[in-house]
């Protein structure tokens, strides 16, 4: 088997200032299963979306089946050329039946009797991949549990009508499958590659990757950092490849006056390890994105099954959707958390509000000459500072942060880190979900999440990128 199914040369992709892909060479041969691993923000999803035609590369060459692709590589062209993708968030229409969802990816299923043809097609493929699946073609997707939805979507990706099937990209395909169905899928992957179909497998379960792949590609910071046949990798060498080569020296800020004062937050419902935060501590939440960190923050915020002593404020990471009030001024965006405290005779004390706004503009060094300007006149980093000011200016003693430094420049980050440190020294508690390793160095203790639970608690002295990776990617039974 020679040639390539799909080949990227020097692919680059930027989102604003963030460089998601920085020159990636990547290729897949016919009948090959390529495992793709990497930590958060390594660029796996971006790469996959570019291959599937749902994102356009900023630079670089793409060739499919040996032909160079001119113009835009769209989702429908990818479909026509036999490139399929099973996305991590499912791409089924919940209001349609399984058979109707098959029709959506197959333009050729139409005319009289289309529904029974689509039903027969998906039923046969489900029987082949997941014997004993218990899914009927006319079941509505919204009535199926999440595991069965995932099975239906995976099976759909392998159905063939008039268009060829060359490459299927599976992004965390087993995330909602139980052990038995996951094994069925991996067995099918081996069988399907034997028939000449290529598969790209993305998974945080390294055992799956090692067992199913012919070749493993490791990504980090938008680049391919290692690429070898699967048998030349072990769990440990994979984890090592995902980590950075250079060891970071620990930020030399020994905890200043760790107060022995009582517990601020304690949550015991996330697995065997309890999350505990004392007054004046900075607690890090780590692990792969979407493994329960944000849910933990929301649980603490909502005080559901969580012991929380003190007022809580939340710093959102997704500024656009959960953070700024677009049509408000910078000042109002900062003081909104505190209006209850700024009341006098039931109305807002405008003078006090202005004082608060002015004070925090200075303390956070927000770069504006007038806090009455609209929030959107600020750069992203300064908007984020305003959101920090909103939390810090309030009476909250516990500050929850949901990966707040996304897309923030390095200068701003340093200023905010200093602020967090001094506020923690003053007795505030920070619980900080972050996808960046370096930020964990600022934390007194780090909890690593996997599958909605805490799998490791690392004190600052024990913290290393390797240990976080080990915990994030560990198998269920070691």
């Amino acid at each position: 088997m020679t040639g390539t199914v799909i080949k990227l040369d020097g692919a680059e992709k930027s989102f604003g200032a963030v460089r998601a892909l920085a020159g990636v060479d990547f290729s897949v041969r016919p009948g090959e299963c390529v495992g793709l691993v990497g930590h958060n923000g390594a660029g796996k999803s971006t790469l996959m979306n570019i291959l599937a035609g749902t994102l356009q590369r900023s630079a670089g060459e793409l060739s499919v089946g040996g032909r160079n692709i001119e113009g835009t590589w769209t989702a429908s062209r990818a479909q026509g050329d036999g490139v399929r993708c099973v996305f991590q968030e499912l791409s089924l229409c919940p209001n349609l039946s399984v058979a109707e969802n098959v029709r959506i990816t197959h333009g050729a299923i139409r005319g009289m009797g289309w529904k029974s043809r689509a039903g027969a097609l998906i039923a046969a493929k489900l029987d082949e991949i997941f014997p004993g699946h218990g899914i009927r073609p006319d079941d509505e997707i919204s009535d199926l549990p999440i595991g069965k939805r995932q099975m239906a979507e995976i099976a759909r990706a392998f159905t063939v009508t008039t268009e060829p099937l060359r490459l299927v990209i599976l992004d965390e395909p087993t995330s909602s499958l139980d052990a038995v169905t996951a094994q069925q899928l991996l067995a099918f992957v081996r069988q399907e590659t034997g028939r000449g179909t290529s598969i790209i497998l993305i998974s945080h379960l390294l055992g799956e990757i090692l067992a199913a792949s012919d070749r493993i590609v490791v990504m980090k910071d938008g680049k391919v950092v290692a690429e070898k046949p699967a048998r030349e990798f072990t769990r440990d060498s994979l984890v090592a490849a995902m980590g950075s080569e250079v060891r970071h020296s620990k930020t030399a800020t020994a905890k200043t006056g760790k107060s022995e004062a009582g517990m601020a937050v304690r949550v015991t419902t996330a697995g065997a390890i309890a999350l505990e935060a004392r007054k004046g501590e900075v607690i890090g939440l780590a692990g792969l994105a979407g493994h329960g960190q944000t849910r933990m923050l929301l649980q603490i915020y909502g005080r559901k099954n969580a012991e929380v002593k003190g007022a809580v404020a939340f710093v959102a990471g997704d500024r656009q959707s959960d953070g700024v009030f677009n049509i408000w001024s910078i000042g109002h965006n900062m003081s909104v958390r505190s209006v209850a405290a700024l009341r006098r005779l039931g109305l807002i004390d405008v003078k006090a509000e202005q004082n608060l706004q002015g004070e925090w503009r200075k303390r956070m060094a927000i770069r504006t000459d007038d806090v009455n300007n609209n929030i959107l006149t600020l750069s992203g980093g300064n908007q984020q500072k305003a959101l920090f000011a909103r939390a810090l200016a309030s009476d909250a003693t516990i500050i929850l942060m949901d990966d707040p430094m996304r897309g923030v420049d390095i200068g701003t980050k340093q200023e905010v880190y200093d602020m967090i440190r001094s506020e923690a020294a003053a007795g505030r508690t920070f619980i900080w979900y972050t996808t960046e390793f370096d930020e964990l160095d600022h934390c007194d203790r780090t909890y690593v999440f996997r599958n909605q639970g805490i799998v490791a608690a690392l004190d600052r002295s024990e913290l290393s990128e390797e240990r976080v990776l080990q915990a994030s990617f560990a198998e269920a039974v070691a």
């Binding site: 749902t54 026509g80 993708c85 229409c93 209001n95 029709r103 959506i104 299923i109 529904k115």
Partner: protein, 309 residues
């Protein structure tokens, strides 16, 4: 135990049966060919407007201009179509094309459909008043003939409603095109990933809505025989209520054409029922609202139980 999912689907039909039974009980003389014909004749334009609204709701939008649009169609038909059939047909086609353009605008500029169509409702009304400042005009004779057609044994409005419901049901629920349209409401991103054009899907649904809006206007004119710009102002809310009564949901591409027609019939009947109860017209809208709330509360109860089961 009763199948709750089946119960939810049957709810629109049960509501219609209850309102029908109540009407027969209050006024037994309506239980006749003539009585039903009289009571339900205005259900045909309402059903058509409801179907138009349903197409828009399928793609997660809402049309607040359908009432004035139906009124405008009536005004155009009673003047232009009556005097010069060719120009009249052209004008009606142009109106349908406008709907398609509005759909494209809403999709391309990512505008809230409620705002755009609310603005448009004043535009339609304005044009209608310009065409026909005071009620008047004449319905084309063929239109009057269609709408006063006497079907043997079964009243015409019932036959018309069943035909409309079945045709649209097959087109939207059973055809391979209908799946794409409903998919666009259920998960637009998935549809785009599969290579479908969301723009064209939306435009087609708006065009269909425009087409059924025109049918609604024509059928209404056939009944009233002369036009009035304001005659269908209430249709906007009737059509939305009809879709929802019929088991549709505002978002998620969950609609039911048969249900929508049944919903429209229920609303039309509820009007007659309240008249028979001698409720003063001042209270009628409120009473209709109460019926709507009761049915929706029932549905919410059924759905809630279904989720817990």
């Amino acid at each position: 135990m009763i199948n709750r999912s089946l119960l939810r689907q049957a709810l629109p039909f049960l509501s219609l049966a209850v309102v029908l039974a109540a009407t027969f009980y209050v006024q037994p003389r309506t239980m006749s060919y003539f009585g039903l014909n009289l009571m339900l004749q205005y259900a045909v334009p309402i059903a058509l407007a409801t179907i138009a609204q349903m197409f828009i709701i399928t793609v997660n939008d809402l049309d607040l201009s359908i009432g004035p649009f139906v009124g405008l169609v009536g005004c155009v038909s009673a003047t232009l179509l009556y005097n010069d059939p060719f120009l009249g047909v052209l004008a009606l086609l142009a109106l349908i094309a406008c709907y398609g353009a509005v759909g494209a605008l809403i999709h391309l500029r990512n505008l809230p459909s409620i705002v755009v169509t609310l603005g448009l409702s004043f535009v339609w009304l304005g044009i209608a008043v310009l065409i026909l400042p005071s009620p008047g005009g004449k319905a084309p004779d063929w239109l009057k003939a269609i709408m006063s057609f006497q079907f043997p044994y079964v009243p015409f409005p019932i036959v018309a409603a069943v035909v409309i419901g079945l045709v649209v049901h097959v087109a939207l629920m059973n055809s391979s095109f209908g799946v794409i349209a409903r998919g666009a409401g259920g998960n637009p991103k998935a549809l785009a990933r599969a290579g479908w054009s969301l723009l064209w899907t939306k435009v087609s649904m708006y065009l269909l809505a425009g087409f059924f809006g025109v049918l609604s206007g024509l059928s209404l004119l056939g009944l009233t025989t002369s036009a009035d710009a304001h005659v269908a102002d209430r249709y906007t809310l009737y059509s939305i209520a009809g879709v929802i009564l019929g088991g549709g949901e505002f978002v998620g591409g969950r609609v039911s054409p048969l249900g929508a027609v049944v919903g429209a019939l229920t609303l039309a009947l509820a009007g007659s029922f309240l008249i028979f109860l001698k409720i003063s017209p001042d209270w009628q809208i409120g009473a209709q609202g109460a019926i709507l709330i009761i049915v929706l509360a029932l549905r919410a109860a059924v759905t809630y139980g279904e989720k817990r089961a």
